[in-house]
């Protein structure tokens, strides 16, 4: 009998993405980011540096923001994941998405899903925020277009509306 190579063996994992269940077959080394994009078709989560520096691939796992390039999909069995696709409801943009549009908080848009998920997680846990706190928060993610000013303004504006 041929020896099974456990390292490349596909493992079945149940992922709950934005409330929908996906049963996917992944190698242990497949990151959550790659599983979302390639196995679930959720390409809204962008992949930047792939080693946890840029924050572009930020998603929520059980309500906490995480770098999806730093988790393996096999670790997410039965866990609830929220991605940028889950923000808008019934075709209506989330307050943060609206604020990003109004404040010109994006240019190329590549980093935007990561910033949105980071900010959503933070605003859901903190009802009252100040600008300094938001500046500290967004230091986590890289944006090379906006210079951050408009991102900070957008998040502060959304925080006001969500209060």
């Amino acid at each position: 009998m041929a020896r099974v190579n456990h390292r490349t063996l596909l493992t079945k994992v149940d992922l709950i993405v934005n409330g929908e269940r996906y049963v996917v077959d992944v190698e242990p080394r497949c990151t959550l980011a790659d599983a979302l994009r390639e196995k679930c078709g959720k390409t809204g989560t962008n992949v930047g540096c792939e080693h946890g520096v840029c924050g572009t691939c930020t998603v929520l796992v059980d309500g906490e923001p995480v770098r999806s390039c730093l988790m393996f999909a096999v670790q997410l069995q039965g866990k609830s994941i929220r991605t940028v696709e889950g923000l808008a409801e019934d075709g209506r943009l989330h307050e943060l998405q609206r604020a990003f549009t109004e404040h010109h908080a994006l240019q190329c848009g590549y980093c935007t899903p990561g910033f949105l998920m980071l900010a959503v997680a933070y605003l859901e846990k903190h009802s009252k925020v100040d600008e300094e706190e938001i500046r500290d928060l967004v230091a986590s993610n890289l944006c090379r277009c906006t210079g951050y000013q408009n991102i900070v303004q957008a998040i502060c504006a959304a925080a006001e509306r969500l209060r």
């Binding site: 924050g55 906490e64 986590s140």
Partner: protein, 287 residues
């Protein structure tokens, strides 16, 4: 980049985890807790373990406990974010909540673990400096049993610890600080959340106007963080003053043997050591 292929194990008990470690120790088995240092290393192919033992499913490892004698025990899977609010009302809880804000960024703190940082032993790790300064006691467990290692014996140089290949860092234990303890923590890095170039942690008590039980720790300067005994001697029993703090900071700077690289030479890191120590002393007890 993508990580090299590995075999994934998700034990549900501590016994199963240590059995797996014993079985695969010779094949570069690695423990996966928060994964915020290991997974980037794997993505960069600096690490390519054949076996990954994910301990996140071992419930008893998420515990944070307080002993009757006032000590705090932090098990292997306790996340950095746990310390954002003081875990206890005394100076220790306050100190940990102050320091944790310097560790990377919010989404890293939600996953990364204190014990993971201690096992990784990066010279710029804030928790490693805290463990060294407060003389934390670390417990390693393997299928052979447990053993306890004091912080000065734990750190063995650049990203090297006393942990053996078949051992798992079970917990870190800190003595509570006396309620009248004061502390200061200062760190210098190029960008918020970036690796520190130098940091200092000091704690002491003021008794009848004089400094008692001083601890001065310096991190991110040498391969491992450590207490600077000569600086502590200067402070012990002395009356806080600007001159005294400057003297202690100068001695700390002279005592270190700094890491150097293309951008930061020894003189610069020594200078940072002096400044961080001085600021930490002033933060603890303004003079």
């Amino acid at each position: 980049m993508k990580a090299a292929a590995f075999e994934y194990h998700a034990p549900r008990s501590l016994r199963a985890a240590t059995d797996l470690l014993a079985r695969y120790a010779d094949e570069d088995a690695r423990i996966l807790a928060g994964g915020q240092s290991l997974v980037p290393a794997m993505a960069l192919r600096v690490a390519s373990p054949a076996h990954l033992i994910d301990i996140n499913g071992v419930d008893e490892l998420s515990r944070l406990t307080f002993g009757d004698d006032g000590h705090l025990e932090v098990r292997a899977c306790v996340r950095h974010a746990t310390f954002q609010r003081p875990v206890e009302p005394g100076p220790l809880g306050h100190l940990l909540s102050k320091v944790v804000r310097y560790i990377a960024h919010y989404p890293i703190r939600t996953r990364g673990t204190m014990c993971g940082s201690l096992a990784n032993a990066d010279p710029a790790s804030e928790w490693c400096l805290v463990a060294a300064t407060l003389d934390a006691e670390l417990t390693a467990i393997s299928s052979r049993g447990t053993r306890s290692i004091r912080a000065p014996d734990w750190f063995r140089g650049l990203m090297t610890t006393a942990l053996r290949p078949d051992e798992l860092l079970l917990q870190a234990r800190f003595q509570a600080l006396p309620s009248d303890s004061v502390f200061g923590f200062q760190e210098f890095s190029r960008r918020a959340g970036d690796f520190a170039l130098a940091m200092a942690l000091v704690t002491f008590r003021i008794q009848s106007g004089l400094i008692a039980e001083p601890r001065v720790g310096v991190g991110a300067v040498e391969p491992s963080p450590r207490r600077i005994a000569r600086a502590e001697e200067i402070l012990r029993g002395a009356k806080p003053s600007r001159e005294l703090y400057e003297q202690a900071a100068n001695v700390a700077a002279e005592s270190v043997d700094p890491l150097t690289d293309a951008r930061y030479d020894a003189a610069y890191r020594r200078d940072l050591t002096r400044t961080m120590t001085l600021r930490a002393l002033n933060q603890a007890w303004p003079a």
